[in-house]
């Protein structure tokens, strides 16, 4: 009886398979960080699903397209607490036969995760780490970067400041390592595009709460004092990824000067105000799905998951090697509401992209600026270019 039943089951399975071809399943992993980094402005406080919300929208978009090609996409999400091992998390995704992992991890954790699944043929999409080192000395053949680098962001804002003839910069740098890395990128940008850093100051993080009941009164006294007696300058450029001081600077400097960098005019891959090149449709779709506005991290994760969908669509395949081969080929490009096709730098697998310059309410401009020319792609005027790269892909 049981044997007959099993036999019938097998027969049913076979006939089903014969009548409708099994859909191609593409499972995508998401490795994110648990916990939210506090920001000075409540408005900029990221949502708990910052990043993964973008990946989820891309899964929806991929599935809408997939309906026409019998392809299905899904997302497996893991959030890492600071004490969790990123290597183990990546391996657990690979164990579920997941070959593509969208990651929002700090640089060191990202490398551990990538190296742990290299032999499994898995590829990571770095959606969250802006470190140039990940695309240079520490580059990996199984890491594709959709996040722009610090040097791309710095070059994006520098081109605009130079175009405005605001060439004398007062550079204020935070005291944390990532603030210093951003300052390195800004110094490099100043040298490349002909700006002059007239003075540098360090804003020490002496600890303390970011939100207090009498904060504004105190800050209004501190910031003018901190910025006084500076040599003549056109614009204050701030490097504060740690959210310690930059947002306090606009309107409070001793001299009436604009602010750029980590506050004021901010370079970014995406902004909720971006409405050009069909972006309104994207913003509306995102708002409908997630009941909030779309951030840069959401966009970087969307782009990563869309790239996988695009590769599956173009190759009519769900095979990891085939998809990766397509992504690395000269045929690959992706449309991401930035007014032009985005492609990968073949020497380090960084996605070329325009940089938006935003003020928190509007998109002020988009770099590369007119007149910054390049023999291959004007997008390569942003960030470290092929002749300067230290990356040897393995």
């Amino acid at each position: 009886m049981i044997r007959w039943f099993v036999g019938a089951m097998a027969f049913c399975a076979l006939t089903t398979a014969a009548f409708a071809a099994d859909p191609i399943e593409v499972r995508i992993g998401y490795l994110g960080r648990a916990g939210i980094k506090p920001t000075l402005s409540l408005v900029q406080q990221p949502a708990d699903n910052d990043g993964v919300a973008g990946a989820r929208l891309a899964i929806e978009d991929n599935n809408t397209t997939g309906r026409f090609q019998n392809q299905r996409f899904s997302l497996d999400e893991i959030r890492l607490k600071p004490q969790d091992d990123p290597a183990m998390a990546a391996v657990s995704l690979a164990d579920r036969n997941i070959s593509f992992i969208v990651a929002d991890l700090p640089a060191e954790a990202l490398l551990k995760a990538a190296d742990a699944v290299k032999d499994r043929g898995a590829v990571l999409f770095n959606a969250g780490a802006p470190d140039d080192s990940l695309r240079e000395a520490d580059c990996r053949g199984n890491v594709i970067h959709t996040a722009p680098t610090r040097s791309m962001l710095a070059d994006g804002v520098a081109q605009y400041l130079v175009w405005k003839q605001w060439k004398r910069w007062l550079l204020v740098v935070g005291s944390h390592p990532e603030d210093k890395l951003y300052a390195d990128a800004l110094r490099r940008a100043a040298t490349r595009f002909g700006a002059k850093i007239v003075q540098e100051r360090t804003f020490e993080d002496t600890g303390g709460a970011r939100h207090t009941d009498s904060g504004v009164t105190l800050i209004q006294r501190q910031i003018p004092v901190f910025t006084q007696q500076a040599p003549a300058y056109d614009v204050l450029v701030a490097a504060d990824e740690s959210e310690v001081f930059a947002s306090y600077l606009p309107y409070r400097t001793w001299d009436p000067r604009p602010v750029a960098g980590s506050a004021g005019l901010v370079p970014t891959s995406w902004d909720a105000a971006q409405d050009q090149w069909g972006a309104v449709q994207m913003q509306n779709r995102f708002l409908k799905l997630n009941a909030r506005r779309m951030t840069a991290l959401d966009m970087q994760a969307w782009t990563a998951a869309r790239m996988i969908g695009e590769a599956a669509s173009r190759t009519s395949s769900g095979d990891a090697k085939t998809l990766l081969g397509f992504l690395k080929s000269p045929d690959f490009s992706i449309a991401a509401f930035k007014g032009q096709r985005l492609t990968l730098r073949d020497w380090n697998l960084q996605l070329r992209q325009p940089v938006l310059l935003v003020d928190g309410r509007m998109v002020v401009s988009v770099s590369p600026q007119e007149g910054f020319l390049h023999q291959v792609s004007e997008l390569d005027t942003l960030g470290v270019d092929r002749p300067e790269t230290k990356c040897k892909l393995k």
């Binding site: 978009d61 809408t64 669509s313 992706i334 449309a335 096709r341």
Partner: protein, 323 residues
Amino acid sequence: MWGRDLVSGMAVWLVACAPAAAVSAYVSNEKSNTVSVIDTDSWTVTATIKVGQRPRGIDFTRDGKFVLVAVGDDDTIEVIDAATRQVVDKLPSGPDPELFVQDAAGKVLYVANENDNTVTIIDLEKRVRTGDVQVGVEPEGMAISPDGKILINTSETTNMAHFIDTATRQIVANVLVDARPRFAEFKRDNSELWVSSEIGGTVSIIDPARRAVTGKITFNIPGLRREAIQPVGIGMTRNGKTAFIALGPANRVAVVDAVSHEVRKYLLVGQRVWHMAFTPDEKYLLVTNGVSNDVSVIDVAAQKVIKSIQVGELPWGITMAQP
């Protein structure tokens, strides 16, 4: 004998001197929320009509009496009476209508709604919505086959041309094209379907019978980087011999031999050229230049730009009553 000559002479005189019915071009100005009316005899703007928010797709009804304009941010299509130049009605499109196409009889309107991945079907006589077809992400380009049997919709993020059977309203084929397909146009003999890909930078030639891409038109303009060449609007002469393709921020219209698919010439027009319309006699082609806020007039036979006309801000679509 003499009398007969006189009569035929009179007829010639009548034809030559009777004022040709003045043809007006209607241009949607996406940012101004207006429609500019251009007189094609004097090449001047003779009227500016206030419409809803974000007017884009625009077309005459087949009887030439009304102009339909999709006002995306108001989620509707407005109906302009061409005689009074007033908005007299609106049509029940879905959210954010962008481009639309009518059947040959002018009875059914098919609308691409960018926001919810659907094509809406509207009965133009009763002015009611009669159905929807689910398509890919961000539907935009719309075309109907000369025999009326197949509706084409292009979806900008799915990157496909969807073939929809107009009788059953079912998708019968999906053809993958290059990134961000914006516009679709059939040859009048149904031998080819052309689809422009804005970000891909190509125009795909599709065989409507095989429903497969058989060739691609690419563009190469010395001194311009590849990313700036973004094909959008397509205009084909009725004899199927010459096509004009608007190349967006390349600020040029490509003149293409529609038989061999070879690009013959690039005409310099205004900035960010997108859509176009022929005068009914096909002597002139008018193209909208979004960033320079003007319309360029191309002499079709001479393949030369002869004039530009200032209109509202960010001119998008253009239409003229066709015979």
